[in-house]
Amino acid sequence: MKRNINYILSFLLMAFVVSGFTACVNDDDYSIPDFVVEEPDVTVNFTIANALELVSGTPTKIESEEPLYLEGYVVSSDEAGNFHKNLVIQDSPENPTAGITISTHATDMYTFFEPGRKVYVRVDGLYVGVYRGLPSLGESGDEVERMSVEEFDERVLRSNTKEEIVPTVISMEQVSDSHLNTLIQFNNVEFPADYDGLTYANPNDNFGVDRTVKDCFNNTVIMRNSGYADFKEELLPTGNGTLVSVLSVFNGTYQLLIRDTEDVDFEGERCEDDTPPSDGAMPFRENFSTHPAGIGSYVDLPGWTNVNVSGGERRYEVREYSGNKYTQISAFGTEEDPFEAWLVTPGVTLDKPNPILMFDTKDGHFNGDALTLHISTDFDGDVTTATWTDITDQAVIPTGHTNWQDEFTNSGAIDLSEYADQEVFIAFRYLGGDFNVTTTYQIDNIEIKSGQ
């Protein structure tokens, strides 16, 4: 009997225990939090350019009674580790006029602040200045110091807007402070030939490495690669092509910072010859980058002829604008009418297949065409006695611009194959007159090479 009672009791107590199993403890099933991400409610009342105006020797505090917000678009990315504790923003997704680096202890910002992401930055109370020459926002110090992670989280607000950033295409000669902290693009650039087999950075250590990038005119800029970058062990590509990067500077030396190797698209053919022109062989190139520039700085290069045939002083000058050098000619102010000047290249033997001529031109203050293009095979130093063939109509030369264009106009490929295996001289003839046709021409990147 007792046993039966016990059975009943034990059944009851089992029921009791089982009921105890429902006593809850958090289980693993957590639902994904619902995020409603609202656009930050801020009034943009400041710009990156405003901030840059405050840059001076030591960091300057941005003071304001009201909260000051600027907006910008992210161009850097620390995903691959080439950027570290820096967020770079520019003021517009396209044709930016200013950019700045936000200096912080925050890491791995790319998840929220990827390239193209619009951000609002509260700047009052921050310091603006430079770090090793690079305009930066951050904390006070001898130079701009990093702001804490908390400060960054509070001040840098993520917009729901994301834009495609269009890198500004410039030549290496045009690299200047005005492009700092913005996304730029070079076309037709490459790593030096002797880099074959090198990696972006050293596999065996964590030091940053400088790599040179060059264009086909032997202009160079440093590419700085972090020793912590994911791609540091990857081989440098050996081709030629476009390079997108954020322009930075370190103690007076410009540096290019790529976000990832996708920024390096060097799949094309390398520049045909990396040695400077001198021996009259193809390819021939001149971009005047090594020549002194300025008023009265007449083109004076080995093998070249630069002559005023109307009796005056004025010849083709080398000028510089926005970091780019080119040659320029105009009759304006010569007090000569007519005014005639010739710029003749050294002789180039067209010993490669499909020889072509290319150059870039800009016209300004236009009041009539004045520039013509000529070729000769018997030029001996005197332009007046040589036999010249006018090939102006084969070239695209801009016309009619009273204001300066942003970009040079490429001439297009001028076929020289009928002169194959002959030594040719190319002449730019300017014929105008003061108080008459005084159109100004700028000419750059003169090339004679094998066409496709």
């Binding site: 009791l9 403890v25 939090p33 065996n204």
Partner: protein, 917 residues
């Protein structure tokens, strides 16, 4: 208790007043005090003889015959679950000594084994993150005053008797060893919550004679979980506490051995807590046990026992002192709020059921053979957060704490330190929402994810234990075999709203970053295996023989063991960093072990005894310490060999009806041990590369340790109701040589050998090396009792970083000594931290009632009533491996990479109510 004395008096009277029988006889009936029911199967023997009896169904026993020792003697009555009685008797020739009724009472420990659980949660028992291990579970059945103190009052401090790690204590269930082959330690959680089913325990201290196996330095416990061994009846408990769990319900029923030859036992329990003493230390454990036994004949009995204790527990973080100072000692860095609930990122989930079949074969009264086979299988998972190319989610990450800003190389940045202080104090937990948000904002593969380190084990154990008792000699023979297949891998638990996870190591480059070159660039989903994947296969077999001799003046024993162990890793991934040495089988490690032990008990008189134990044995290193980097490659530890252990201890034991005491001196030497640890090191020289930082595996080989000390325990029955007790342990556990140290890492190609690590004379970490207790107990005749103990602890030490004690310490990256190296400063930097000493006061009490045939009881305890704060352990961070980095860190206003500590619980309570029928 008064009755005991009356009884004793009665004996004397009985003896004086004599009986008229011609034969010399000793007889009595044994009853349980509370119930007045006869107690069967009580072992009764007369000390210093081999005369032994058990009580019959009426609780009666009788000794008779010529061989009864005449004169003064001691009659010993013992049964599991009852307090052992020692009765002085005088046997006269030709007289009958009728002791009438002897009352037994349930032993204190069967109450206090509940108490033990409060001060020591399973988590503490299973602690692996630190050096601490706890062994007190082993001691709970011991009746020795010192070991009782160690089990119940010292355990919260991670005090280990004689300083032995729990891998040196053996736990058997029905004769089968339960210590894990992976780390040698018993996995207490595998039978946690089965308290009422694990009360029958037979404990052998140290390496003393033991009927089942060779034993271990720290002792050996056999938990008997046979259905026929449980007392008929049911029991139901409810406990409330605030230490590791907040509630426990437990119910059990045992039929006892029924007339039809069957016995059945079942138990189910649940323990739960949303959080324990430490924040977010959740506890979710269900336990089930069933055993069925069939007594086939007088000679054969077959038992089937199975238990399953699925449990989930939230782990707690060790923290630097800075963190504890900013928060408090309950602080746990592993959790954060999600959906308004505390979500712990580090959960241990254990589901390892055991099923065993036991055959008991009694050839005759003196000969038995016990054959067992057991199978354990299941899973163990330890969850943690992973993050790739995303900020460390650890709220105590050093760059988030004030010390980081105060230690700015450009001078203290007080503003940012203040901001960090406020931020940490107001929040300072894991930000789950931000992790989800990061993954969602990024939109690609998960930057943050939750995964678990899994070990899925399958273990088969079989053994046979033979027992033969001759007149003065008991012979024990046992053979054991174990085979383990352990599948280890990382398992994705939660992608936290990311789109898969790209299984590429973000800290490595190119092919080396691939976890499996056979299947590179995998994107894994929840439930997929990733990071690492391998099997460990282990096999162990041994044979043990022992003879115990019992004589009037002296008992002694001799034992020997021989065995073999082999281990092999089988890589299932071809790790990119170890292309040629990760996929497929490793070389097979083979270890041969043997051991001898012997000891004696010399009885100066019945009251004064000397006890000596000596042993020399070897044991295989654990699986854990055999492969230097098992997650990534097949490399075995260089120069790995068997551990050699020698031990001698000598005790003086005093035993009178009122006072029991023991004083033991011991000396143990452990040689050729190996230890592996993992950490991120900064300041490692001689890597043949410019970087001095790396995630490394640190391998120590040829480690020698020496444990010497004294321990003492005494208890005195001052009055029939008042008992005083005292215990003391004075130990010195030190490294006794300078072991070899080398590092391996996927950051460098070859292991880097640093030669000797100058550890000699450093203290072995893990609990206080000195502990003292005084206590008193009052046991009222009206079935209630109270007790109090004051416990004093000192000489606990931090676990030192061996890498800082190598030549690397004074060398710069190029391998030359630092220019500004100052030996005095260095000595100061490397001084081992000794934790502050402290006192813990514990109270316990209980009462029971009898209502008809039912019993109701309540047991309560309050531990650490003065809310003393104390460190239970800690370790130096291996990060600052050299003089320059360490001295820079130490000289900061607040250390950035100071040691991490665990703190003990503050005041905790435990109340248990039970109902027995």
């Amino acid at each position: 208790m008064i009755r005991n004395y009356l009884i004793t008096l009665c004996f004397s009277v009985a003896f004086i007043s004599l009986s008229m029988a011609q034969q010399t006889i000793v007889r009595a009936k044994v009853m349980e005090r509370a119930t007045n029911e006869a107690v069967v199967d009580v072992n009764v023997f007369i000390e210093n003889t081999n005369l032994a009896q058990t009580t019959d169904v009426n609780g009666e026993f009788m000794f008779s015959g010529d061989r009864l020792p005449l004169g003064e003697g001691v009659l010993v009555l013992s049964k599991t679950g009852f307090e052992t009685q020692y009765l002085p008797i005088v046997i006269n020739e030709g007289r009958e000594l009728d002791l009438a009724t002897i009352y037994l009472q349930p032993e204190v420990s069967s109450y206090t084994s509940d108490a033990g659980i409060i001060s020591l949660s399973d988590e503490e028992l299973d602690q692996e993150d630190g050096s601490a291990s706890n062994i007190s579970g082993l001691l709970q059945s011991s009746k020795d005053a010192f070991l009782q103190a160690a089990a119940f009052d010292f355990s919260a401090t991670f005090f280990n008797p004689r300083g032995y790690d729990s891998e040196y204590g053996k736990v058997l269930i029905n004769g089968i060893q339960m210590n894990k082959m992976f780390n040698g330690r018993p996995q207490w959680s595998n039978w946690g919550g089965l308290n009422d089913a694990t009360r029958n325990q037979i404990f052998s201290m140290g390496l003393s004679a033991n009927d089942y196996n060779f034993g271990g330095l720290a002792g050996s416990t056999n938990i008997i979980m046979r259905a026929s061994q449980y007392r008929e009846g049911g029991r139901i408990n409810y406990a409330s506490a605030n230490a590791s769990y907040t509630g426990r319900v437990m119910a059990s029923y045992n039929t006892g051995l029924m007339p039809n030859g069957w016995a059945v036992s079942v138990l189910a329990s649940r323990r739960f807590a949303d959080e324990g003493y430490r924040d977010a230390a959740l506890y979710d454990a269900n336990s089930f046990f069933a055993a069925i036994e069939r007594k086939i004949s007088d000679k054969h009995s077959l038992n089937l026992t199975a238990f399953f204790t699925p449990n989930r527990r939230g782990k707690t973080s060790p923290n630097t002192q800075e963190v504890y100072d900013l928060k408090n000692t309950r602080y746990n860095a592993y959790w954060g709020y999600q959906d308004g609930e505390k979500r712990n990122s580090r959960i241990r989930e254990l589901e390892e059921p055991v099923i065993m079949l036991n055959h008991y074969w009694d050839f005759d009264e003196t000969t038995s053979l016990n054959t067992n086979i057991a199978y354990q299988f299941g899973t163990r998972g330890d969850s943690r957060l992973g993050y790739d190319n995303a900020p460390n989610p650890d709220p105590t990450y050093y760059q988030k704490l004030p010390s980081f800003f105060l230690g700015d190389p450009n001078g203290p940045n007080y503003d940012q330190a203040e901001a960090a202080t406020i931020n940490f104090q107001e929040d300072g937990q894991i930000d789950w929402n931000r992790m989800y948000y990061t993954n969602m904002a990024y939109g690609g593969t998960s930057r943050y994810y939750l995964y678990e380190d899994r070990s899925d084990d399958k273990q088969l154990s079989a053994n046979a234990i033979f027992h033969k008792r001759l007149d003065n000699i008991t012979l024990n023979v046992a053979v054991n075999y174990r085979k383990l297949k352990s599948h280890n891998f990382a398992n994705m638990l939660d992608l936290l709203a990311g789109n898969g996870y790209l299984d590429v190591d973000s800290y490595n480059y190119g092919d080396r970053a691939q976890s499996d070159l056979n299947n590179p660039d995998r994107v894994v989903d929840v439930g997929d295996t990733f990071k690492y994947n391998f099997n460990l296969n282990a096999e162990q077999y041994d044979a043990f023989v022992q003879a115990q001799f019992k004589y009037r003046k002296v008992d002694f024993y001799l034992g020997a063991e021989v065995g073999g162990t082999n281990y092999q890793r089988d890589g299932l991934y071809r790790n990119g960093a170890f292309e040629d040495n990760s996929f497929g089988k490793s070389k097979k490690l083979d270890f041969t072990t043997f051991g001898f032990k012997g000891g004696m008990t010399y009885k100066i008189t019945g009251r004064h005894l000397l006890d000596l134990n000596t042993a020399y044995y070897t044991q295989a290193p654990t699986l854990r310490n055999s492969f230097s980097n098992s997650r990534q490659n097949n490399e075995t530890v260089k120069g790995i060999t068997e551990e050699k252990i020698q031990n001698v201890d000598l005790s003086y034991i005093f035993r009178s009806p009122r006072v029991k005491g023991r004083l033991t001196g011991f000396y143990t030497k452990i040689e050729d041990a190996s230890e592996i640890s993992f950490f991120y090191a900064d300041g490692i020289s001689g890597l043949g590369r410019n970087s001095t930082t790396a995630f490394v595996q640190e391998v120590l080989t040829g480690v020698d340790k020496q444990h010497i000390g004294l321990e003492a325990g005494v208890e005195a029955q001052i009055t029939p109701t008042i008992k005083l007790k005292g215990a003391a342990a004075l130990g010195q556990y030190t490294y006794s040589n300078n072991p070899d140290l080398y590092l391996t890492s996927d950051d460098f190609e070859q292991e880097v050998n640093f030669g000797e690590s100058y550890l000699k004379n450093y203290k072995v970490a893990g609990g206080p090396q000195r502990a003292y207790q005084i206590g008193a107990e009052y046991r009222d005749p009206n079935f209630w009792w109270v007790g109090a103990t004051a416990n004093f602890f000192s000489n606990a030490y931090v676990d030192v970083a061996p890498i800082s004690r190598t030549r690397n310490f004074y060398m710069d990256g190029s391998g030359y000594p630092f220019a500004d190296y100052d030996e005095d400063i260095a000595r100061d930097l490397l001084k081992q931290e000794r934790f502050d000493s402290y006192m813990l006061v514990n109270l316990i009490g209980g009462k029971s009632w009898r209502i008809n045939n039912y019993f109701v009881g309540v047991f309560a305890s309050i531990n650490n009533i003065f809310n003393q704060k104390y460190k239970t352990g800690g370790f130096e961070q291996g990060r600052n491996a050299n003089y320059k980095t360490l001295s820079e860190d130490v000289n900061k206003e607040k250390r950035v990479f100071g040691p991490k500590y665990w703190y003990g619980n503050g005041t905790t309570y435990y109340v248990n109510v039970y109902f027995r029928f």
